[in-house]
Amino acid sequence: MNQAMPPEAEAPPAPRTAGTGALVEVRNLKMHFPVTEGAFITRVVAHVKAVDGISFDIRKGETLGLVGESGCGKTTAGRCILQLEKATEGEIWFDGNELNKLNKLQMRPIRQRIQVIFQDPYSSLNPRMKIGEIIAEPMMVHGIITDREARNRRVRELLGLCGLNPAFADRYPHEMSGGQRQRVGIARALAVNPEFIICDEAVSALDVSIQAQVINLLEDLREQFDLTYLFISHDLSVVHHLCHRVAVMYLGHIVELTTTDELFRNPMHPYTQALLEAVPIPDPTVEKGRAHKIIKGEIPSPINPPPGCVFHPRCPKAVEGCSRSFPDFREVKPGHWVACTEV
């Protein structure tokens, strides 16, 4: 019976990717956190729609920026890709593997290829471990270098690579400054030779002169090791400097996605325009020539987001239809995607 079946009728092989050939593909990702009430008998009274249907690709060697203000869901999106949160809905593909379908054992070799650098260099390093142990730990976990001597050599090499004195391996985190700790965080991420690094506000806590050092380090490492970054940040100037393409998030949605040059030269979504207008430029003459059109209102709660387009209550261009349905994410011109009916 089986043999009689024509080959066309066979189930097609499962797709190895979502179809674009990018290293990371995110499709219609949703992360809704339940809000519960009651101490003994808990019931779900609402959902925080932290991420509410976002899609994007990251090509190999590319740095994609994910920008937005607090509570827009940028960090949650990163945590979903890392599988630190189980997404409510949607697909996350990494190099042909659909991550949210894998079990812990299957996920393990992939976790080695995806690393993360956190914002706070104070709380992301274990205060009781020496710097050398902190950097060696991921290598031990993934069984990369089993020989202790070789591992110590590698730790020293990584410290040097990140611009730190190899003798720091014997120090504790509290003996280091914020900038140095962030370099340790980067060295730890690099320890397992990852392909893809999620930088979650990786330079936001640093002073300007130190921030510039770490930005340059991230750029150098990207070139040297052919890394791919997802750079999550609220700082548009840093994103402009580091990223090839940028996705702008607002209240769980991506409202605009395009190349960096296009986004900063020709922002189309009213929220992106407002965001760029709000960032002061460190030049008094440039500042005097700017219009300073500042949008009113505050960011609504993601528990009870506005109906339709989530930005419409603050939007200077809002029309009647905006409160009815969320606009399609359209490719307005090649490579420039906007979720707004009025552009």
Binding site: G178, Q180, I210, A212, I215, S237, H240, P282, P284, V286
Partner: protein
Amino acid sequence: MTKLLDIGDLKTQFFTSAGVVQAVDGITYDVAPGETVALVGESGCGKSVSAMSILRLIPDPPGKIVGGSIMFDGKDLLALSDTEMRAIRGRDIGMIFQEPMTSLNPVLTIERQLTETLEEHLHVTGEPARARARELLGLVGISEPERRLRQYPHHLSGGMRQRVMIAMALACEPKLIIADEPTTALDVTIQAQILELMKELTRKMGVAMIIITHNLGVVARYADRVNVMYAGRIIESGTAEQIYHNPKHPYTLALLRSVPRFDHIRGEKLQPVDGQPPDLTKLDQGCSFRPRCAFATEQCARARPALEPVEGGHVAACWVKETVGFAEAIA
């Protein structure tokens, strides 16, 4: 123009087990009525300590103002008794702090936070005080002031709390407001709203402002004059245009070249300052920026340069300031 605030050679030190921290090491600047002056620098450069010194809010011990003078509106603040100082704080000098979460009292309603200041300083109570509180909330752009007055700080968003802080600072119509990183904890669009509000209100009411920040963009947008601080000292001072277009201290130049700007062409590499700021317990007789400075000479190790005029009120503390500038940086 008379000076509203005149600080001369102010020194504030902290006596810790690790040694004497020279947090503010002889700073001199003044603020004219209605003027906005920025203190800019990185963490630990002494900008907040210098502002806290004006208010005499340095925790003692371990801190102490060990020298200098602070003349405010004809009075020597360092010579006042604690009671006299308390009458000035919140009345003639308003304060806005970075953390609107921790600077409001969580167990008092918004109304009480505002009327307390009015009672203490202006002896206004009851319905007139409530009316003034309502008026102040309206002034800082809070909608439905009647409802907000009954709420507690935790009911409000960060931006809203900062608006309440501004209302409190303005309550007694002060002559000077000291704003310490007023928008650092806020989102970009909210930051822009708050700064715009502060600018509008200070201009309208003729209030002078000292704004302390590490954000060079905020300084460029709002400050009339800029004092750049490094390791407890003012190393350069001038109008915003002088500082940004013609920096004469290598540190100012380095700061400006290490901020990414989205109005510039991409692909330029940032030029960060190497190294770390110095340990403030171990300053020597030389220039404290010397170990990180690309222009350092032997003279820099021997003695610390004083602030010397560049042109038209622009001063810089550098032995080789004639050779510092954007043109040399490119060559």
